[in-house]
């Protein structure tokens, strides 16, 4: 039997959650809402918009999603912005700035009719942020959604971007630690996972078990998994160190699964170091997976006993959320958004060192009942806090608040 999108989400998140969405959306019926970002495929923002926009439409909001166009020079410049806003000292040349502004102007012209008419425009990340300058007579509310960690930006670049951001009616950051002071309301809305996406959907037993044969894993011994790019901030060498310390006490396997990180110049050298550190142990499995291997990652997470995310710097850490949604306890670094998700002895453990991680790995492998209990709590926790439906509800309430100029209280009926 065909089920609408809302019904499918109700099955996972609960009827009351969908009822809340309907209530908030009631006063937004027919409203024109446009999301703008810079890519339709790949990356967390596109993943979220892929589902969020149809959900908004299902709630009778006239929602659409536009992707700006740009050449290689433009994306080179915005990649520089991205790194600078996350704190790297990056030099951007005048000609790059010119390309950036011209690209924004061209896209503003292409989208002119639609954006002038829009009631609400969500602009995601820095790539399209400058478009606002081309809409001095805009009638709608413009909201800047910042998905990156702006806690310690490289100041010259932030000053440049901030000039555009201040023209917006509101902005959204994932965590208070990532936010900057701005002359408009700054909402704190964490990201979310989509329980119906390939990465998170329920899989059958056979598909989950197929990963043992495919990746040469022994189904008889426990599996510890870290899913992340081979990036120093994810501390892959610390993961191997922790594994070796814990393995001295019991037999288990380590899987480190990540993308090939072609856009990261350091990726290859980190991967080389990881391979060197693991070459003497056949129980360490380094898996380089394509960026669209969502179902494989899903199966690996479900087949694993315990998940590690031993980052030393992290954004929100959605890989933690994904693992918890699969009822797995997570041992994670005490940084960024991981701190909001892992509660010691409840959904996993926060650690600061490879030694700390090894201690918790040992503890959990020796207390299988505890592991199961923590996994169930973790799943419930994600259900209540980090699903797409909560994310959408907060976007919609933000729209209601902005449109009605509400300061503290939004009463729905």
């Amino acid at each position: 039997m065909y089920q609408g999108i809302l019904e499918q989400y109700a099955n996972v998140a609960g009827e009351d959650v969908i009822d809340h969405l309907r209530q908030v959306a009631e006063s937004l019926k027919g409203m024109k809402v446009v999301h703008i970002n810079s890519t339709r495929d790949g990356g967390g923002v596109a993943e979220i918009l892929n589902r969020l926009v149809p959900l908004m439409q299902e709630l009778n909001i006239d929602a659409s999603w536009q992707v700006i166009l740009g050449n290689a020079d433009f994306f080179q410049c915005t990649k520089g912005f991205h790194n600078a806003l996350q704190g790297r000292d990056v030099g951007i040349t005048d000609s790059q700035i010119r390309v950036y502004e011209e690209t924004n102007a061209t896209n503003a012209e292409i989208l002119k009719a639609q954006l002038e008419e829009a009631d609400v425009v969500f602009v995601h990340d820095p790539q399209p942020v400058a478009m606002i300058k081309h809409f001095p007579k805009r009638k709608g509310k413009w909201i800047w959604r910042c998905h990156i960690d702006l806690s310690k930006p490289y100041r010259p670049i932030w000053k440049y971007i901030r000039d555009f951001v201040t023209g917006y009616d509101a902005s959204i950051f994932s965590l208070s630690e990532f936010a900057q002071a701005l002359p408009h309301p700054v909402y704190l809305i964490p990201p979310s996972i989509d329980p119906l996406s390939e990465k998170n959907i329920e899989l059958d037993y056979e598909e989950i078990n197929s990963v043992y044969e495919r990746f040469n894993l022994d189904p008889e011994r426990p599996v510890l998994l870290q899913v992340s790019r081979f990036d120093r901030f994810k501390d892959p060498l610390g993961v191997i160190h922790a594994y070796k310390l814990a393995k001295a006490f019991m037999p288990f396997q380590l899987v480190m699964a990540g993308g090939s990180a072609t856009d990261d110049p350091e990726g290859d050298s980190v991967l080389e170091e990881v391979r060197k550190a693991s070459s003497d142990d056949p129980d360490i499995h380094i898996l380089l997976l394509p960026s669209d291997a969502h179902r494989t990652i899903n199966a690996l997470q479900r087949a694993s006993d315990l998940i590690l995310q031993k980052s030393i710097k992290e954004g929100f850490g959605l890989t933690v959320t994904e693992a918890m949604w699969k009822a797995k306890p997570v041992i994670g670094g005490d940084v960024g958004g991981i701190k909001l998700q892992i509660f010691d002895h409840n959904t996993g453990f926060l650690v600061h060192t490879p030694e700390g991680a090894a201690l918790r790995i040992r503890y959990l492998f020796h207390h299988r009942d505890k592991m199961q209990e923590m996994g169930m709590k973790a799943k419930q926790f994600v259900k209540e806090n980090f699903l797409l439906t909560r994310h959408l509800r907060e976007y919609l309430t933000l729209i209601v608040a902005l449109i009605n100029n509400v300061d503290e209280r939004i009463e729905l009926s």
């Binding site: 209530q23 509800r393 009926s413």
Partner: protein, 224 residues
């Protein structure tokens, strides 16, 4: 006719709520900065840092019930101050301004007695947050007070927050919605209202508060 069947003027409307956090852009890295911000910070921020924790995800009992005390302990490593601030019960104060004054007094006293201003590491600053409350209608209506005994155990923690805690801010007498509604029965439930007034919602979780309310209503109506 039993008390259970007294017809109310209006049914009790069960609502649910959630808080949407908003950054104020203000941060403190040491105790003096915290004190200075507290003088001018939006009252909603003091409310959020005292009460918002109840609606945030948590497991078990928190070490401290307000965010200020927690930061004093874990950011500033000042256990003495954390204990003094941790014991402050916001229900003891007439309004947020009185609570603000008390908090500032305790901090100033601590600043006077310490030789150095305690500092937090850069990544452990206190972030002042406030919130918007979004109120939903659950479409559930309760006609008779006796029905609360079966309805309360099934309410969400958001409903409990709205009807017991947020209500104190909304009502001129700073009372919960259950008591306000029961007062409409012209003295019929005075004992029940008096017993509700003895519940201090601050140092317990919303789940525990729901259990206390459920028990109180059950005992009252079963004992009739």
């Amino acid at each position: 006719m039993t008390t259970n069947n007294r017809t109310p003027i209006e049914p009790f409307v069960v609502r649910d709520c959630t808080l949407v956090p908003i950054s104020t852009g203000k941060r403190a890295q040491n105790l003096r900065e915290l004190r200075d911000h507290l003088v001018t910070i939006h009252p909603g921020s003091i409310y959020y840092h005292f009460w918002g924790g109840l609606l945030r995800p948590r497991f078990g009992d928190p070490e401290y019930n307000n965010d200020f005390a927690s930061w004093m302990r874990h950011g500033l490593h000042d256990s003495v101050l954390a204990e003094r601030v941790g014991i402050i019960d916001p229900t003891d104060f007439k309004d947020i301004e009185e609570l603000r004054r008390e908090l500032i007094d305790v901090i100033e006293e601590r600043l006077d007695e310490t030789e150095f201003v305690p500092w937090a590491k850069t990544d452990q600053q206190f972030h002042f947050i406030r919130s918007q409350i979004v109120v939903f209608d659950t479409h559930k209506r309760i006609k008779y007070p006796g029905d609360l005994a079966t309805a309360i155990p099934n309410m969400t923690v958001g409903s409990i927050f709205y009807h017991f805690i947020d209500a104190m801010r909304r009502s001129p007498e700073a009372v919960n919605d259950f008591s306000s509604w029961l007062k409409g029965f012209q003295g019929g439930y005075k004992k029940l209202i008096d017993r509700l007034a003895t519940i201090d919602p601050y140092f317990i979780s919303l789940t525990e508060l729901r259990e206390q309310l459920s028990l109180l209503f059950k005992e009252y109506f079963e004992g009739e």
